[in-house]
Symmetry: C2
Subunit: 429 residues, 2 copies
């Protein structure tokens, strides 16, 4: 258990010399805060809110220095622990742009992603230009950039031979109310980072690097818990307050990689080590939800809100007992979300959910425009998202509180080897 | 320098017993990551992106455990170091609601703010209801809630006698393009926290506590660097990549409190210890800005981008030499932002700027809807924001890259004493 190779590249400030410098700087800062505190104390202790937060040195170097490698069998941002900030953005190739322009674009994007994930500045636009400087001073903050291809990409680039059958359009679901303008797209990028400015810097740099080759189609912003906000780092809560993702497949489990990734000898060849991601913008009807009692909410989900334990008993990670009855009825109701979504009721369908919450303010009707940017990763959507969503669409007690407002499916190729750009095996194959 | 009283209340997980529990939990987590890493290594080290981040225990308890006191001479959220997440929200009193309903509302809001800033759950709606649970597991994460009153509040509550002269409407500026629906309001709340879910939890709880007494008028979301993302914690960058806030008055300086807060014997009496906040939603024309060379950008601002040093030389905190000439011209241009905004060119006008950046996606014209939620705190707007903005409006080289899209001015009363609610001295005076 202690033999694993640390996968995190130490950030700049973790090298011994740099760390020393950083810590001295931090101590300098702490002293400055001390001066402020003293001045306040001198005013009779009355000004109780000035200089209220002290950051121990350790906290000031950890979050920023986390970095995730760009190269590998898989792209980053899939099994990487979900970051505090996420941007999802889709582009369409510009009219007239084809395979050649797309290849040049993916080469530029990959180069920018590699540099930024290492905490380095990037040239700004297609024709150069200075780095915007937004991420200056910060470490890579676990930045990941993940690239995907939509079904329409293959027609526009004359690469129809490379189109995977897994990119067949998702079926329509009865509860869908999809905005086509915020759905699908030729190209997709997921940006994640634990610092908002680092994430924004990457998004802007990638948008500028698109130049005239591709045009923004839609963009969404999301968030998760900040590292360190809770001492239960494996527990993720959504905006309904519910523990989310308990039943996710875990990398330590048998078949995890088979469920999530296309195998090395899979088809098409250029997708070896890749994955298919389903994105759904799921707005939550929080005003309705919050009016329900805690008992009602827990019955809808099938888990206790406090700790995520199944209503059949135990703790968060106890296997739900779907047959258990109490007081003459099922402990986990027939239409409870966790029953309807469970792999065992869906032919063992499995996907790795790695969502961000979103909150885009309030709608004209006064309701919060907030919910989940649901992202599900799988080797085959027909053995993951599709059968589960078909079932949820028909009989999930949670459905009345949700609105699926946008949908997309992308093929996310394997990670680039040294010197390679993402998608090279497709574009130059 | 080491004698100041720590103003931060230790969070739950900082007590010795709890800290021990947390650390054991964290070590358990690290081991789980270790298992994943081992499994990956067993697959030939091929799966380089799984379980890539390890969080040392220190980082996992620090951010969440920070807490800021609710009671005090001033409200929290003014001199508190700016948090990573902010929500700004304005309400209008409902038709028919007057002084009595407003007093009951401020009592409910204050009670909820006090509890949440201590990391405790709150009753949900006006009639009770469970806490939404969104902040469960997390520490207070330096949550602050700050309340203010707009000019229109005084007419609607029959409290015109309490209206401060400082709440006179701001003058119009030639470059304003204000959206009235996103400006002003009877009541204002600023929520800040270092965790996005803690901040959202507070916003929702306060909105639910409004009940039928007040209706949401507008709402904005903002962000800053995450604690720990940089080893320069005093340096804030905006979305132009520029160091921002260098010349802010500091609590250690003479007259800091006089500049920012209404004195104890000030007028009106209910505003003792209070402050006036000017809010401007300033969209940045980032596509235009990013096209300029680094030299041009630095000339517009008057500071070096890399470290914020004035172009007259030195380091970030070196006093700019506004007279210095080099190669026959002023080192800091006549229309450079820092010259036009400097207190010494504005009759010593001073304000404490404590902004959040914002990014609401992209506009219909393809430009980013992003910029600065400018928040300026001062004892008197006519000696702070107004003279500076008048000057900037006429001759700031930065103005062509900015759009002021919303504006508001609120009277933020002093902090509540034990047992008091915010604004009680006005509402029951």
């Amino acid at each position: 258990m202690t033999q694993h190779t640390p996968e995190k590249t130490p950030g700049k400030s973790e090298t011994s010399l740099e760390a020393g410098v950083s810590r001295r700087r931090l101590l300098g800062t702490a002293s400055a805060a001390g001066v402020a505190g003293l001045a306040l104390g001198g005013a009779g202790g009355a000004y109780a809110h000035a200089a209220t937060r002290e950051e121990p040195p350790a906290a000031l170097t950890t979050l920023g220095s986390g970095s995730v490698p760009f190269h590998g069998v898989h792209q980053a941002g899939i099994t990487t622990p979900a970051q505090a900030h996420g941007h999802l953005v889709a582009f369409d190739l510009a009219p007239g742009a084809g395979r050649k322009e797309a290849a040049a674009l993916l080469r530029r994007w990959s180069d920018a992603a590699r540099r930024m994930m290492a905490g380095e500045p990037v040239q700004g636009g297609q024709g150069g230009g200075a780095d915007s400087g937004i991420a200056l001073d910060a470490g890579p903050s676990s930045l990941t950039v993940t690239f995907g291809f939509g079904r329409t990409f293959f027609g526009r680039t004359g690469l129809k031979g490379g189109l995977p059958r897994e990119l067949a359009p998702l079926p329509e679901f009865s509860a869908d109310a999809l905005d086509k303008k915020r759905s699908n797209g030729d190209l997709w990028i997921q940006v994640g980072a634990d610092d908002a400015l680092v994430a924004f810097h990457a998004l802007r740099a990638l948008q500028r690097a698109a130049g005239k080759a591709a045009k923004l189609r839609w963009q969404m912003n999301g968030f998760n818990r900040s590292p360190g906000a809770t001492s239960h780092p494996m527990t993720v809560r959504n905006l309904m307050g519910q523990v989310d993702g308990t039943n996710n497949p875990k990398p330590s489990e048998k078949d995890f990689f088979k469920k999530v990734f296309v195998p090395e000898d899979g088809s098409p060849e250029w997708m070896a080590g890749g994955s298919y991601v389903v994105l759904r913008r799921i707005r939550m009807l929080l005003d309705d939800w919050d009016e329900r009692s805690l008992d009602e909410q827990e019955e809808v989900i099938g888990r206790r809100k406090s700790d995520g334990a199944p209503l059949s008993g135990g703790k968060e990670h106890t296997e739900p007992d779907l047959e258990k009855r109490a007081k003459g009825k099922l402990a986990i109701a027939a239409n409870a979300h966790i029953r309807v979504a469970a792999p065992e009721t869906n032919g063992d369908a499995a996907m790795l959910r790695r969502p961000f919450s979103f909150h885009d303010g309030f709608r004209d009707d006064g309701a919060p425009d907030a919910g989940l940017l649901f992202l599900a990763w799988q080797a085959d959507p027909l053995r993951g998202f599709v059968p589960v969503q078909r079932k949820l669409d028909r009989g999930d007690a949670l459905s009345p509180f949700l609105r699926h407002e946008a949908s997309a499916l992308f093929a996310v190729p394997g990670g680039p080897r040294e010197g390679e750009y993402v998608g090279q095996r497709l574009l130059e194959g």
